[in-house]
Amino acid sequence: MRTRAAISAALASAGILLAGWQSGAHVAGTGSPVTAAASGSSSSSGSTGAGGAATTAGGGAAAQAAGTYTGTAVQTRFGAVQVQITVNAGTITDVTALRLTDEDRKSVQISNRAAPLLRAAVLKAQSADVQTISGATVTSDAYLTSLQAALDAANL
């Protein structure tokens, strides 16, 4: 390799790696609270934890209940999974993941990828009868189990 090419390549590589490192430090700073924020919402919504407890905002008629319902916390070998649903006029209007598999970095990555896909699928299907996300089987199963508990609590 010619000297000019070698020096330029070394400088360019160093620059790219440094830029990556810099933006990575930024991500690491905001990255972990992603799951923290999810658990934070559980306390603000006033749910009483595991076991399908519901905080109903509206009247409370079983079939037409409106409000938020929290599913059971499902333990997996990658961490616990727990979801909360928001129901309005008998339809699921939102699904929030309170806790997701976060045992290690890999699990966090998988969870972050799977959660939005599962949420979208559940909102579309309006049930827990949705496909498992490939590459996130454990997370999906736990997510849907917890979701089913929440649906049961909401009598949906």
Binding site: A10, A12, G20, G24
Partner: protein, 417 residues
Amino acid sequence: MNSSSRLTMPATTRRTPVEGFRSQARSRLLRADLLTVLAWSSVSLAVALWLADGGASGFSTLAGSFTALGIVAGLAGMDLVLLMLLLAARIPLIDGAVGHDRALGFHRKLGKPSLYLLLAHGILLAIGYGMAEGLNPVAELVALWVQVPDMWLAIVSLGLFVAVVATSLVAVRRRLPYEFWYAVHLLTYAAVLTAIPHQFSAGGLFAEGTWQRWYWLAICIFTGAALVHYRVLEPLVATFRHQLSVSRVVPVAPGVVSIELAGRHVDELSGHGGRFFIWRFLSPGAWWHPHPFSLSAEPAWSDASGHGTLRITVRNLGRGSAQLSRLKVGTRVAIEGPYGLFSTAARTRSRVVMIGAGIGITPLRALLERTPFEPGQATVLLRGHSDADLYLGDEILALCRKRGATLYHLTGPRSAG
């Protein structure tokens, strides 16, 4: 050398002064350097993708460290594999800057490092994930194969990579017929394709919605498109456009024949004398033999639509070349190319020395026709065991005479030792 005769030819034709070779050389070196920088930058960018995702935080635990190193090895390994594919894709920008032979030389040099990186990727992740889950690496590999979608493909891919690199080792390759090596080498495409799914499905780095995913997709698609375009489409287009067929087979010396080919638009191939094409003679039993031969005469055409002839000169060296002396007139020919840098494009100054030995003399014959030089500024050295081995020597002599080049014949057996 036993004998050396010097034949200085009188200048008979005057040509326009030759300029611009120095700037041509400067710009070619600049392109080569830029490509080098681009290649290494792509490797660091692959690692930077992971750093930008906060990957370095994995080093806080032992298991995480194994996993982190494994991911980095995989990213760098895949990037090198893509670089290897690009180097072998016959991209004119690359071949024109460093030459086809040096591009393939880099390709070969990257073979083992990329395999080691991919092996390290598999092993380190098996250890890292295994430690995180309390499994031994082998059990972890089994778990990955069974439980995680696309992972079995990735493990198969690794096996294919091992097979490809093992058959390409010089010691092994020498014992195998070219065609067997080539067939195994085609498995590279299977190896790369089976490696891709897990990168997007199992790897969190390229999860949906990340910019890293777009970048990675882009470089994979770019590489695939370059391969399809330059290695499949362009040869097909050239073959259909030029409609070449064998028009004459002329014996030149024992075991050496000149093959003349007639076709259309041969004017477009002008100026490529000395460069090589990959020829496939489309007759039963021979069509799957690719032959790399240089032109031994510049294309000659008679009308505006470029109907004309090309010529290659071939020595009976292997099984494939032996068949060529028995080629029938009218055999259709598929071509790829022109490839290589043995042409005016490689020149760096107005003076030129051309050296050829044995059958390697024949590309000089074509180069001498067209490459610009003034009388007295070119020297040609031909080397062979005897005068009979200076193939096309008469034609070269005539050309040197016409253009005012100095011709040396170096004949005789090799010196001992």
